[in-house]
């Protein structure tokens, strides 16, 4: 019996197991699914009790994300969400990219050229993330006011880069630690410069690590609300802030509109994660699965 079992090894799951896993997956995915469904419902369908699972889909909510009808007549007025989506993409992408560049270089240093008290430095770097943002925000708000960075793109991009840096360094360091030092030594003996060792030997091995770090950073930045609320201006406002501002008003919460914004807001993160998923699995397991 034992022998047979062993021989089969990692076998394909049967239907029962697949359905069971699918059901559990659905429980986790249900809120997202519900939001996406709500985005396609009319206001009446969205508020119906008991909740409706079968309904006639409409794109009205998506249209009203970007345009609303003026009170005078039939003129369509932009709601500004086009800009807010651009802001979110631009700010998150720049912030993540900056954090990734600085974080990777710093992590290489920490991993390959440890300082005296290396672990202490790494710990100190992480402490900046141990305070609740609401405490950090007050001095930062004042600093931004003082330096005139309030409401500017570069201000919020720099802040997001700084915000992503600690765990970018930690994650990338763990990936660098895993690389074989022999390979780098071989490159040195083969006449490679230190820059060549980093760019031609180390970095190509870390595609998975970079992808995983980028996705983590992106998700955190993409959904960030507090800093964005206090530090962006009307031109640089990101979607989470703008979304919050749609709540309220004489009609109460327009759930359909909110769900449409969220649905659109999900697409870029979905897309990036989907594109990077092959790298991601190897990245997030932190080498616990032998390559």
């Amino acid at each position: 019996m034992f022998g047979k079992r062993k021989e089969r090894g990692l076998r394909e799951a049967g239907w029962g197991q697949t359905l069971f896993a699918g059901a559990i997956g659905l429980i986790y995915f249900f809120p997202v699914l519900w939001i996406i469904m709500t985005a396609f419902k009319t206001r009446t369908d969205a508020l119906a009790t008991p909740p409706k699972f079968i309904f006639t889909p409409t794109l009205d909510n998506f249209v009203s994300v970007f345009w609303r009808v003026s009170q005078q007549g039939n003129e369509a007025i932009s709601t500004g969400f086009g800009l807010y989506f651009f802001n979110s993409v631009f700010v998150a992408a720049s912030g993540v990219l900056l954090a990734l560049i600085i974080g990777t270089l710093a992590a290489y240093g920490f991993s390959r050229y440890p300082l005296k008290g290396n672990d202490t430095y790494l710990f100190v770097i992480l402490t900046t993330r141990m305070l609740p943002p609401i405490i950090v925000i007050i001095p930062i708000f004042l600093m931004f006011r003082l330096t005139g960075m309030s409401g500017s793109y570069y201000g919020v991009i720099l802040l997001y880069a700084a915000f992503n840096l600690p765990f970018s360094i930690w994650m990338m360091k763990s990936f660098f630690d895993e690389l074989s030092g022999d390979v780098e030594d071989a490159a040195r003996l083969d006449g490679s410069s230190e820059r060549g060792v980093f760019f031609r030997i180390c970095l190509p091995q870390l595609k998975a690590g970079l992808a995983a770090t980028a996705v983590f950073a992106l998700i955190l930045t993409w959904n960030e609300f507090l800093f964005a609320l206090l530090l962006t201006g009307s031109d640089t406002r990101t979607v989470p802030v703008a979304m919050a501002r749609t709540i309220g008003g004489e009609l109460g919460v327009d759930w359909g509109l909110l769900a449409a914004i969220i649905t659109l807001f999900l697409i870029p993160v979905f897309g990036v994660t989907y594109l990077l998923q092959n790298h991601l699995l190897r990245g997030v397991t932190f080498g616990t699965i032998k390559k």
Binding site: A186, A187, L189, D190, G191, S192, I201
Partner: protein, 361 residues
């Protein structure tokens, strides 16, 4: 000239002295094996020669030039690593071409060189694969090919065959030996496998605790081990090392070995031996001969375990709680529990003084 020289090479990590005053001298075309148990400092010595580790003290000369302050690249060395250290994100062809990029060659020259080494090591079929998709033996061949693609000053090998299975190891051993003799460069091979050292080296340096115990040709190191450590380390099965007091010396030297008095004919060594002192008598398992009856100079022991090894049989015997190993022809039938008289032929003996040093007989 392709030579490697180290003088008083020393490496300390804090309080630990990993390499302690190593003097080596490898001539052009010579293959020197650094052989020793793990942790004896052989790899550290190799890394200092390569420039991957800074020496705490002492000098490294390559091709007659002091290279202590040169980077690994400037030393113009090729090295094969234990775990191959292939560049994982580059194909085999790109791996082989990598060392040539630093030489400022044209693409055509690089391609030609890669084709030559790929042919030499039968890598033509795998040139476009990534290292992760290669078999162990292929990885090893890529590592060797990459080291010879350039024309470096000298070669360093760190446990080059330790990851291969027995059959591949034998094949690779021959292939590497062939390539090395063709290139005729100074070469240092680090290994803990004495068979590898004995077969591949022109000279072997046996290391222990950061020091070199003996440097000699494979023949000499086997025939004239300089001390008890080398005697016990080289040769399989291991040499029998029996400690005993010299009781008398009147034409014959009588030792108290394993609770028995054994008389040995030691020729002219007599005047250098002193009654009452302890000595270590070394004899290889193939140097002991089971006799049909007790004879002068024989040692009685009981057979404890019989291990057939194919052409020969290894016997483990006990004499006064001392383990004695004897190798006999496979045709000789021996039973466990049998009592044997072992003849110690004087010309096959090794004698070591109390400090472990060899006494020439």
């Amino acid at each position: 000239m392709s030579t490697i020289e180290t003088s008083n090479l020393t490496k300390r990590f804090g309080d630990l002295t990993a390499v302690d005053g190593v003097d080596l001298d490898v001539a052009a075309g010579e293959v020197l094996c650094l052989l020793g148990p793990s942790g004896c400092g052989k790899t550290t010595t190799l890394r200092m020669i390569a420039g991957l580790e800074n020496a705490t003290d002492g000098d490294v000369h390559i091709a007659g030039r002091r290279v202590n302050d040169l980077s690994p690249a400037e030393r113009d060395i090729a090295m094969v690593f234990q775990f191959y250290a292939l560049y994982p994100s580059l194909t085999v062809a790109e791996n082989l071409a990598f060392p040539l990029h630093a030489e400022k060659m044209t693409k055509a020259e690089i391609d030609a060189r890669v084709a030559v080494v790929a042919g030499k090591l039968a890598l033509g079929d795998v040139l476009h694969r990534l290292p992760n998709h290669l078999a162990e033996g292929e990885k090893q061949r890529v590592a060797v090919a990459r080291s010879i693609v350039r024309d470096p000053n000298c070669f360093l090998f760190d446990e080059p065959l330790s990851r291969l299975d027995v059959e591949l190891r034998m094949a690779m051993r021959g292939q590497i030996k062939e390539i090395l003799s063709e290139l005729s460069k100074a070469t240092v091979i680090v290994t803990h496998d004495q068979l590898e050292a004995l077969t591949m080296a022109d000279r072997i340096a046996v290391m222990r605790d950061g020091r070199i115990e003996q440097i000699a040709t494979p023949h000499d190191i086997f025939a004239h081990p300089k001390n008890v450590f080398v005697a016990g380390f080289i040769g399989t099965p291991q040499m029998n090392l029996l400690e005993g007091q010299l009781l008398r010396q009147n034409g014959q030297a009588s030792f108290a070995l394993a609770g028995q008095e054994v008389s040995l004919e030691l020729h002219d060594a007599h005047d250098r031996l002193h009654a009452g002192e302890s000595y270590t008598v070394g004899i290889r398992p193939r140097g002991l001969e089971p006799l049909s009856e007790a004879a002068p100079g024989s040692l009685a022991a009981t057979v404890d375990l019989v291990e057939p090894m194919g052409a020969e049989t290894l016997l483990h015997l006990q004499a006064d709680d001392q383990d004695i190993r004897v190798v006999v022809d496979r045709h000789r039938v021996v039973r466990e529990g049998e009592r044997l008289h072992l003849g110690l032929a004087a010309d096959k003996l090794h004698l070591f003084g109390q400090n472990g040093g060899r006494i020439e007989l």
